[in-house]
Amino acid sequence: MSVEAQEIPRLPEVDPLEKESIPQAARRKLSSPWASFVVILLTFVWTIPTLGLLITSLRPAADAQNSGWWTFFANPAVTWSNYSEVITGGSTIPSGITPYFFNSFAIAIPAAIFPLTIACMAAYALAWVRFKWSTVVFFTIFALQVIPLQMSLLPLLQMFNLGWNLGPIPIFPDLNRPGSEQSLLAGTYIPLWIAHTMFALPLATFLIHNFIAQLPRDLMEAARVDGASHFLIFRKIVLPLSVPAIASFAIFQFLWVWNDLLVALTFAGGTPDVAPVTAYLANIKGTYGAQLHLITAGAFIAIIVPLIVFFALQRFFVRGLLAGSVKG
């Protein structure tokens, strides 16, 4: 008995945890140079292609077409003429990227704001103005994510061009100008905004609902007791408190729209009136594929905006990503 009683207080001295974990820690320290080496190698491999793009875009045409970009380090010649030709148009590529660049902003900013606003409203109703069918509606919206974009493209295009009637009831008006083949919407951003908004809603509503539903119940009830309407609560309480979720999704959606090609080609064609940079890039890649120095300059102009957004707001972006996939 006494031996046992004496042994108990001595236990911390022999602490198995510590004895075991010293070699463990040592092993970790030993293996980490290897881990670091592999990671640095992979980081290098992952960055090289983009570096090649940047360097090629800065090289004179003859250099870029007749030698690999890695020879740049032995023979460093830099020119801005590729960029000036792609920006304003020049002898090789007559139309420049500038109008498309502005189009991308004019498409992506509204196409991020619209679905966010509508999704916030829907998420609030589903989380805090509960009604008989609210769960069913929520899960239906969630489930709509499975419908691929491709299912909607043709019917939506027909709707924008020819209108859409449900029997005798016009759901979407036929906006053709009398005597012309073209819809009033042709050459505007409106079909693009509407299409992007529709396609973004399921995910946006789902993610923002997850966030809004977790706001403190007491706060909402106190506001209701004080006689605040749902509209006042939404504006004064829900929106200010949801800024982190809204910011993450806004960045996500902006990048998604900026980088989109499928919706852009379908609803904007390739004209400088409304088409974004991705359509321009796909076009010059197809037509002037051999002009590596110009295509790379165009590509760099197109990716610089998402890269700035990404590096400046990476934390929000990652948070949005994690909310979308870990909780999903």
């Binding site: 990671v39 902003f105 990503l321 870990v326």
Partner: protein
């Protein structure tokens, strides 16, 4: 100067769009908050939920049914042809289906495996932030941009000329005298296109899995190490089961992205040289050939292919929740 003015005009119409939208919402809110008494609750529900529901019905639900219907029609969408369009897909477009299946299976697994490796390695590093954001960076680049970046890597030049494509040059440094024309090199060109998608998606897998690994409680790992689990055993018996749910989500998320991918194939080869996939063929049929029936049938094939993935996803997540 003139270009700048048209540019400002474009931004102005974007701003106008936002302003009109804002006014509409403000008007709805104004009407809604005027209503008192018994009407106020239903009005709030209609105003908050109405826009989303209408847009979803018009943009996804009705079009889905219309596309299913259109897939049973002929090329102009005016005559019922039954299964003929599907018959056409499964008779003469088998290569496209096979390619798509290869994409769906190989790309997510490769991207997730690499992402997991990186996440595990990063867990043992101290200054991980720079490596993480550089590997994650391709996520921000469009598929079109990525395709242009990689067309530089795959650029072919005759072996006696100075090389422009990085891959050819590396292969020649390694002693191969006559590198193939990469994008025409069937069937391996398919895998070269998949590399682009892996390059983009690895960062996503890495970031999400890294967060999941960090979320494993420290005492679980310590207890396992006390029991003598190290290295591979620790990884396969503790780490993997703990992040199982996240792994499934990552693989299926990439699968959905791959299923719908169209930009890479369109920009790199436009589906030539045996690289065509369903999503690009759908675009070609619907918007280049203007064959509404076949285009719709291909869209339906994409949709049907998603369903088993979703069911698998839900079943696995359920199982995961039940065991916890």
């Amino acid at each position: 100067m003139e270009e700048l003015l048209t540019g400002l005009e474009k931004l102005w119409s974007g701003f106008l769009g936002v302003a009109v939208f804002g006014l509409l919402i403000a008007l709805l809110f104004f009407i809604g908050s005027r209503l008192r008494g018994r009407l106020s609750r239903p009005a709030a529900i209609v105003i908050f939920l109405g826009p989303a529901v209408i847009l979803l019905i018009m943009g996804l639900i009705v079009p889905a049914f219309r596309t299913i219907w259109a897939s049973t029609q002929n090329s102009s969408g005016k005559e019922f042809v039954g299964w003929a369009n599907y018959q056409w897909i499964f008779d003469s477009q088998v290569d496209i289906i096979v390619n798509s299946i290869l994409w769906i299976v190989i790309t997510p697994i490769a991207a997730t495996a690499l992402g997991l490796t990186l996440a595990l390695l990063l867990d043992r590093m101290r200054r991980e932030a720079i490596a993480k954001s550089l590997i994650f960076m391709p996520m921000a680049i469009s598929f079109v941009g990525a395709s242009i970046i990689w067309s530089l890597v795959y650029e072919y030049r005759a072996p006696d000329k100075p090389q422009v494509g990085l891959l050819s040059q590396i292969v020649m440094w390694l002693g191969v005298d006559d590198p193939p024309k990469w994008l025409l090199w069937q069937p391996f060109n398919n895998y070269l296109l998949m590399v682009i998608m892996v390059w983009i998606q690895v960062g996503f897998a890495m970031v999400v899995l890294s967060a999941a690994i960090k979320a494993i409680p420290g005492d679980v790992v310590e207890a396992a190490e006390l029991d003598g689990a190290t290295g591979w055993r620790l990884f396969s018996k503790v780490t993997i089961p703990m992040i199982r749910a996240t792994l499934i989500v990552v693989v299926t998320t990439i699968m959905f992205a791959v299923l719908k991918i169209f930009d890479i194939v369109r920009v790199m080869t436009n589906g030539n040289f045996g690289t065509q996939i369903v999503a690009n063929e759908m675009y070609a049929q619907a918007f280049v050939q203007f064959d509404i029936g076949r285009g719709s049938a291909l869209a339906v094939v994409l949709f049907v292919a998603v369903i088993p993935l979703i069911i698998f996803n839900v079943v696995q997540l359920r199982k995961d929740r039940a065991t916890r």
